[in-house]
Symmetry: C2
Subunit: 244 residues, 2 copies
Amino acid sequence: MLTIGQLAAYAGVTIKAIRHYHERGLLAEPDRDSSGYRRYSAGDAVTLIKIRTLAGAGVPLARIKDLLDADPDALAAAIGEIDRDIDERITRLQVTRDQLSQLRGGDWLFVSPQVADYLDDLRNLGVSERAVRVERDGWILMQTASPEAAASWIAEKRELMADPEFRDLYLAHDAAYDWSPEDPRLPGLADRTRTWLTTHPSRSECEPVDNPAIARLAAQSQPGASSPAWERLARLMGASPASG
Amino acid sequence: MLTIGQLAAYAGVTIKAIRHYHERGLLAEPDRDSSGYRRYSAGDAVTLIKIRTLAGAGVPLARIKDLLDADPDALAAAIGEIDRDIDERITRLQVTRDQLSQLRGGDWLFVSPQVADYLDDLRNLGVSERAVRVERDGWILMQTASPEAAASWIAEKRELMADPEFRDLYLAHDAAYDWSPEDPRLPGLADRTRTWLTTHPSRSECEPVDNPAIARLAAQSQPGASSPAWERLARLMGASPASG
DNA sequence: GCTTGACCCTGCCCCTGGGTCAAGCTTCGA
DNA sequence: TCGAAGCTTGACCCAGGGGCAGGGTCAAGC
């Protein structure tokens, strides 16, 4: 006959766990010896190892309790189910591992794949990290408000980026962020932008999304995301569609 | 700006979890609107997805809190560590899955491999399941008391099973369990057993282990594990070494 | 203007699967 | 014979939330 410590060592379980199983009714309380110590049989060891194996597989104790006195067929069925569950957990762990590796490596985790691709395009174009971050945050807000609308907008915008003049304007606006508000290039840039806007009517019903000013709009909620040069640019463009 | 429900939906997390992260200091409490609702920014969504990813990998919340404002090098190191941890958990899950499959398939899980082999030998010999179970339980008790001694005994016993006369005696004792106590074969079996015991002095210091009577000894703790025929057999063998 | 349903707020207790500590008894080995 | 190790019960603690209570808010439809 075994003491609780011997049983625990044999089954590879802590003493505390055994008492826990007693409390939950998984393992019957054995008889006590004259001093009140619990005394276990070999059958208890067999049961305990079953419990440990099932618990190690993540089966809840309440379910283990049922399985222990289920008929062999039910047990076999349950084991099959648990087995599939383990497989699923393994694949989920592998997914998690992949996601972890993406934590160091861009925005893939935070936005839809389409937006992530778009952000990568921006980076390849030489857009500043600041602008990329502002775009990312804007797209997150849009995706939250309406994932379908964001999906169609992002498609439209990626198409737009194929236009060299638009790309040029985008990069110029990005660069202008750091210019002095008295920079002589600002009026010309404002003119070019206005011209582009009038010759390229937006197809989407939400105009600001389609031009670089979206960055300023999205940025309004973030302190310090605008600049003196951009403020002047906005004034120069006057009542352009972007300012509404 | 997002409500807590929108943020939760975007990040794939429950509202309750977000509030929990606020309590734990993982995610800063955002400003409230006029009605006291929390209002979130896109940056909160980015942080929350980081939290979710790390938490999904099993990283404790307290550690996530540290990692969120750690420098990139420390984060990369931590991610490497977490990655190894996930690998380990995957292999452990695979081991668990193997053990699970053994739950339906014998005694492999409950005793040492040597004892499991021995029990399989017994089954192949045609020994009754009752006797196998009694042997298994006896070996569990022995292994718990002294794994090394049990290891040498099991080796000795498997050697012994190579002796045809011993095998024969073992099977006869097993079969005798179900005989009538008046069965005329019992005196002859008692004689054969006594003869074998005198011509085969035990090498181990613990004699009962080396002969079939171990089954009876181990069974004494289990009610109903003996039988009328066995009782008579014990009386017939008189003061044999097995009866002590 | 009123209702209805969805959403949000705080605060509390509950769960699993144990770990840890305390205070006192028993058993074992030298 | 004495100290170390082992056993007893009981109470409290942890993560990571879930669920419920009891209430406030908001937007739409009638």
